[in-house]
Symmetry: C2
Subunit: 329 residues, 2 copies
Amino acid sequence: MNSIKFHSKALVKTIKAKAEDGLQMSEVFLVACGGSLVDLYPAKFFLMSESCLLRTDLYTANEFVHAVPRVLGERSIVILCSHSGGTPELIEAVKVAKAAGALTVTLTYNKASDIAAFSDHNVVYEWGDESSVQNNPMAITLALCLEILQQSEGYAYYDEFQEALQKIDDVVATACKKVSERAVTFAETYRNGKLFYTLSSGASYGHAYGFAICSLMEMQWLHASAIHSGEFFHGPFEVTDQKTNFIVLLNEGRTRPLDERVIVFLKRYAKNYVVIDAKELGIDLLPESVVEFFNPILFYSVLCVYREALAKIRNHPLEKRRYMDIVEY
Amino acid sequence: MNSIKFHSKALVKTIKAKAEDGLQMSEVFLVACGGSLVDLYPAKFFLMSESCLLRTDLYTANEFVHAVPRVLGERSIVILCSHSGGTPELIEAVKVAKAAGALTVTLTYNKASDIAAFSDHNVVYEWGDESSVQNNPMAITLALCLEILQQSEGYAYYDEFQEALQKIDDVVATACKKVSERAVTFAETYRNGKLFYTLSSGASYGHAYGFAICSLMEMQWLHASAIHSGEFFHGPFEVTDQKTNFIVLLNEGRTRPLDERVIVFLKRYAKNYVVIDAKELGIDLLPESVVEFFNPILFYSVLCVYREALAKIRNHPLEKRRYMDIVEY
């Protein structure tokens, strides 16, 4: 909690100082690429759902740079995340934000990152198996957006959200242990799979996308496509057959019925599908009023167990690349 | 133009009347499912880019219904689109919006649709080969959002946008003729393709997604995945090889460099890729200041020529379904 508390306090101080100068923040831009963009998605969903005063948009960095939103300015908070701290599009994006007079908050794992030079507030986060999920970028961004919301208009479930931030680590650790055998079974069953559809909804849609583009496409060179559970019945489900592979991230919270509807359909018309149920994995220990925003934190860690098992059985290390940081692009 | 002018005028009148009652509209929610959601995407991108006062969010209908945004109320405009006019999730969504006191605008092809009963302003649009693209839901929604923007804060390129709306029909008709042979070549080349990645950016990302989920998955039972051009280099590109199929929608406008970067990479590392270039197809006849918002209108019509050629050679009619409106789900 120390990291979150420290950064939240600093950000609130800055926002308050700006408000005293007559600058009430009016929009939050969340900007990153690939896996880091995925880490910002839950905060986008949280503010989109809960805020009445803040406009929030999520951008892949290069689109933010090339199609700069007209509103970007001194009332904007721009939160940018780059694991390496050196993603060129991200460096450009933070420069664009800074030049427009926005309040810039950067998140990176790299202590020596260049982005800190253009940032009003730089957060160096923890990463890896030994780190606490509270100190990973997803939870930090959620916690920062909680404070932004609280400053902007107050949030009825502020205390419950803080409670959830405190509890999520234990919940995730328990869930990861619980799936260790299941992940091996998954890997054995799907070791020859060439294509996977990943489905989810609510705050977790970003992680359905993230598992597709990072874990499967980037790290395993497997074909993948993320589909929102609510969209499945409006086109995508026509590909369903006994051979197609599906991974469903079943949320706890308001959008659970959307994911459940997909599962009911797959039970009848598909054969190869895996359901990862956040509720069964213990996320319902968090307060009901905010639990839905924490599903993706659980899914990310749990899916890391699945992808490690898959990488092992396929003999394709997660670090193996053929283009990224190898060729020019 | 008559349809657009008629509906724009009516909407402006309602917005002005509300403003006189002290109700300045503050957010626009765009709500639909599948192909209709795709038709709303350009308006989302347009407002996200151009508006300084309006918050705009795009929702698949069932998520809007289950995770109702807290801000939804009498200052919200909710634009909902359903081709059949009977999509259950959409009917629920318009009820939710209405109950919250929002101004509801519905678009449908079905004159006898139930949604009109819950709608403040119902637009029956044209559809099919013989219709003018100006009277299709994509252009109508863009035109309505142009008026909303104009009422909210004014728009420097209002006249250019109107000019583009007038010219887009001819541009699209010319482009469709131009690709008729290319579409046949595409179909012959890719007739045995089992999986396609579709890529684009800016206002057209929605149509990269639409071609994937509607034209390929729903209408051809082919596997597909839409990737934002800006995201390609942050994971997805690791699947690139000499066998994987890509379709790139190359925009004219600010995000063109994002799409071009994908093409440069594919030229080097892929073999099976098709580029559809809106500029080469004549979209640059539209005013430069607004052209980018019109790319998807061209792409949709042009891609219809491609999908028809593909359907013909694969002997898989575009209307063929195995689940949609056939089984229960």
